[in-house]
Symmetry: D2
């Protein structure tokens, strides 16, 4: 081996060694398009630390969220449930303070919250954007919620169908919730908590005009509950805010400008799902050519981190479309078009109606949409 | 379980089932920035099929390349080496024709080439952009190369240090190569072939002003030689072309507008490596604040698919920088800045000189660069 | 840095470099237990090459199968469908010969087969363990099958619900199949082909006492259709043979000693599924202790490469069991046991009845099984 | 679609949904063979929690270790460094108590330890198998170590080259360490801590007959520092113990029966490395046949979770061996043998001497070993 080769190999090896032996402390941005009138912020508003029944020091919550690509988190330790109290004396504002300091270093927004933790009804409620959490530590839950409201909090009902409070897993609406609603003390509901989806809560948000939420309710280090390195992700709220700030998030929440993002699905109002989808995908081949009963490929690039599953519904006298088109996250999918007849000739503007199966505007109801492209039909014997 | 829940679960499950049971035929774009004056096309100019000693039908080469995110490939079956001849009669242009038809359906550029396969010297040479490969099938290699040139081909020397022809793995320059150079029949050299890097060839390209090339020389289905699903990638040429066309690629090759991209490294002229790096990364936090001997984090987003390894060299009286900063592909890395002194105060514009260890402008020579950001130094006791 | 450190770092780096830069040509054994009276061989009996409409040279089929951990493959190019004929003249036995030579070098069993390719009925049928495939190239399919039988072939019906022949995707039984059955010319049916499962075929195999089969029908390089590096796997036959030989496989096929292994599910007769499951898993903690309404964990190790999903059905007056227990492949899963009452005391031998959801003994019918372990119940206040 | 098909699809989907939506709480056993006279236990003896400067509640340490396949951990919070003290009052034994309770539920061994944290010399030392950690909280480090010894502790020196105490990263031996050694208060040294290897410490262990250790020193949730889901693993001690108990581990440590397992390398005494390697790999093809200058493949199965890199050194007049043979973890690797001559004939028992590059018996010194197999040489023209 020449000396030049030996030295180059060594240089090569040294760079490689740095690859393996080092560990990246890095943030993975979540690619979801902004809306025309708002940034798409990724937020988790239900998080625990050692200061209630969670298992990590609060700064870890900011570190985990920053790495996962989130923009904002709320620390929401329980007011009433403090199993570590004997070792770690109650201090309702401390977890927020510690997490915020770390969040500031990493430019992640940290919001002060608390979980008001009562039996059902009314169950558990989160109040976020608090000014002083200790003042929620009162015997009467009605008083706690009134205080939260006085502090300007955004208040939502957590996991309404949680089996810890509803043995059959079904969410139920109680008079107490009517009462809260009437007093302006209930602004949203968790449609997804952890790995559960509550279709009843989904309907209530639509009927009662409440904000839909989707939170991790994480207690463990996040990596024990989600395989982050394998691409799994905690449930998130997409919040459509005018800027990247706590104030703008608070305003967007009160304006119900959210979409649930959980387990690869988006759940929310059509006005948000429609532009999210349309801004995620683009047809790279606006015109394709089909000869006789041959096939052509419409290429569709999906620049988002959400894999979309499109099911065409159009029947066409000249063209055959697939039952399902998958548009994988960050990649270019193929929509295969086949000719039905050997001799058809002409240019067709196709508006391929269908639905995106993993975007839900109501329980059981996927988002209708259409794909547009041109097909030039040519007879088979025409070279 | 309510009926609503049951139906929702079912809908959920059906979408999920489609995830697992289906298989995506999709393209994964390779994210590397364009240059100010040219698109960055990803190309492999050395590829075999069953029509010489390769192992796949030619259309597979277009399919593999499209999926991997390439823009162009050249099919370069051997003229002289046809081990399947008894089953599959020699037809020098057929593999190109078959691959091109598939390439057209997927909008991938397929270039006609051949490998002129002789003992060393002159060894193996690829001629690409041919008009008729059969005319290269002549006894005298000088005549074959003359014919290639008459057809307008771009000609390069393959794997000059290949152990099949150089037992010690060292590339050697012969009088025959001088002869080729003089006649204008040698335009480039493979600096990387498969998993080998030839530092001598790297130097020759710089000294003799030749085009640097990096090719897979793939014979197997690509997935047998590279763990694509684990993020591995064949060696590639980055070609800086004025448009996405075969003509523009040919012109760029003759103008030496290429960079080698292999095993996570870029090898090439500084004029190309510099803008590639600068257009890949951006400082998200142009100004950070360090209090006393505390630390701050400069966040650097790398939008490319290349992980960069930056080693700062600047010594600073007030600030401590890390030995190495890794900027992982598609993510945000952290450059940690620490204060040396408790009481320093002031605003500093830092121009952090260093080198990118995996970008090589010569053998052993990483690209020098600098990172620019502002540090506001504050004394420790100043809140 | 000391010289010792520098040298050690270099040694470290050199080993690491070898990790990254090399590519492993290696076999990944598929861990599924043998039966008491037979080896569990992993086989794919439906495979194409360039010699019909496949896309790879035949030796690649042996290479792919060896790497994936298979024991045997059959090469089954179409007799009647030869789209590459113009370039590659028909030679019905050649693909087998080429693949077998490579199989011998790697100690993989390669079986000679052909796909008799007709319109429905009778559709496509594979004949394997042929002696001379060219003699099947006759106009009358009845004659082709009679010839296959004369050569001692095992004959099975391919993809009975394939949409290329059944537009609605439903498998249908025709008089021609009765005729074949009566003549002893139909020994098995594909219950799974590629990514399709045919419940009708599953029932026919049970009713008519035929061999259940599960094949890839692969045409592309396998890595284009299955994400091998991500753990995906082609559909396989588990064949329970007395030894690792072609003869023993043939005998086991005629004796219907097979199980379908596809998409993480096993489909087959209870007599095979039961021991496969029982020999895969073992309870590591035969006795656990539950205090009051507390919980305990039964640890269950799954030494196989199949993730099992167990659903307990037992209701117990003293103990609460989970709805579902996942036993991930190659890992240790947890079965959580909780006490119902604070004061129960005693030792209980639990025989936890349930079903393994991904092992199917009939369509819709999971394998019943039970888990056995001891629970020691202790009252809460008893330290 | 028939009803049968629809129902089957639904059943299919439901199983699949359970795959995706659930999250496995599971243990991944680490496959490393036992020795003839001892179990191979995987242990981490340097771990922090929120009770000193760590970031997780202590039970998480048992959970993480159980999942990662460890057998035992020691909780070793700092005695002198308690940055959370204001929120969480000092309680030197509590982290052990909390972790042990969780360890008992999961059958993981948890050992009581403390880190005696002083400036260099003597630096940081861990004492494990303590009876009462609070009694180590004394001003004089000599007294703390004497107390640890009185409690029967195993005492080792942590990260001797840590840059926090040695700016140049070089480990140095001080008179204080001689003093400790003389008093029997120093039983081992960390040869690896986190991502650092100390070749000096490696030599000291050999010269002074001390136990070699390799620990994570983990402060964060383990998943923030190691990409577990991508197969990365914290540094571990392999401890060769007569049974799976705390007592047996303690005895093995005092008997220096350990091997360092870090970053894919094993570092330790030859008497342990040799049987570990030999019991990991087995030649599947004891006899291979080479015809003329052809090639044959010796198949070597590696049943362990360690990828071995073997470099043959034997020169042979008849056979050519590769420069390097990789034996990937849990897979079957190939050792390619090629004939040198066309006409050699005979049967050769090959004893292929070489070294395993990632097993180190001294700094820079790989474990010598040999592979044994038979080669039958046949002349080329002899069919």
């Amino acid at each position: 081996m020449t000396n030049l080769m030996r030295m180059s190999l060594m240089a090569w090896a040294m760079v490689v060694a740095s690859d393996l032996w080092a560990h990246d402390r890095a943030r993975t941005p979540i690619r979801i398009p902004d809306l025309p009138d708002g940034l798409t912020l990724k937020c988790d508003f239900h998080i625990h630390t050692v200061f209630s029944d969670g298992k990590v020091w609060p700064d870890i919550r900011a570190e985990e969220a920053w790495r996962e690509g989130l923009d904002a988190i709320a620390i929401t330790d329980h007011i009433e449930h403090q199993p570590h109290k004997q070792d770690l004396p109650t201090a309702h504002n401390r977890s927020y303070q510690i997490a915020r300091a770390h969040g500031e270093a990493l430019q992640l927004i940290v919001i002060r919250g608390s979980e008001i933790t009562r039996s059902m009804p009314p169950g558990h409620l989160n109040a976020i954007f608090l000014k002083d959490a200790t003042r929620l530590d009162v015997p009467d839950w009605r008083e706690a919620l009134a205080e939260a409201l006085r502090q300007g909090a955004f208040i939502f009902w957590n996991h309404p169908g949680w089996r810890g409070q509803q043995a059959d897993g079904q969410a139920r609406w109680y008079p107490e919730h009517d009462e809260l609603l009437k007093r302006g003390q209930l602004h949203g509901i968790e449609v997804v908590n952890e790995r559960e989806y509550y279709p009843e809560a989904h309907l209530w948000c639509l009927e009662k005009n409440l904000t839909m939420l989707s939170n991790s309710d994480i207690h463990n280090p996040i990596g024990l509950d989600y395989d982050m390195h394998a691409g799994e992700r905690r449930p998130l709220n997409l919040v459509f805010a005018r800027e990247r700030s706590a104030d703008a998030i608070r305003q967007a929440l009160f304006e119900r400008r959210t979409v649930v993002f959980a387990a690869g699905r988006l759940i929310g109002r059509k006005e948000f799902l429609e532009p999210l989808f349309e801004r995620s995908v683009r047809v790279l081949t606006p015109s394709v050519r089909v000869r006789g009963t041959g096939r052509a490929y419409v290429q569709i690039q999906n620049d988002s981190d959400i894999t979309y599953v499109f099911r065409p519904e159009l029947k066409d006298p000249d063209l055959i479309f697939p039952e399902e088109v998958r548009l994988p996250a960050g990649r270019v999918g193929l929509l295969e078009v086949r000719g039905r007849n050997k001799q058809t000739r002409g240019t067709r503007l196709v508006r391929l109606a269908g639905a995106v199966m993993n975007l839900w505007i109501r329980p059981q109801t996927p988002l209708p949409t259409e794909m547009r492209f041109e097909v030039i039909l040519m007879p088979e014997d025409n070279p």
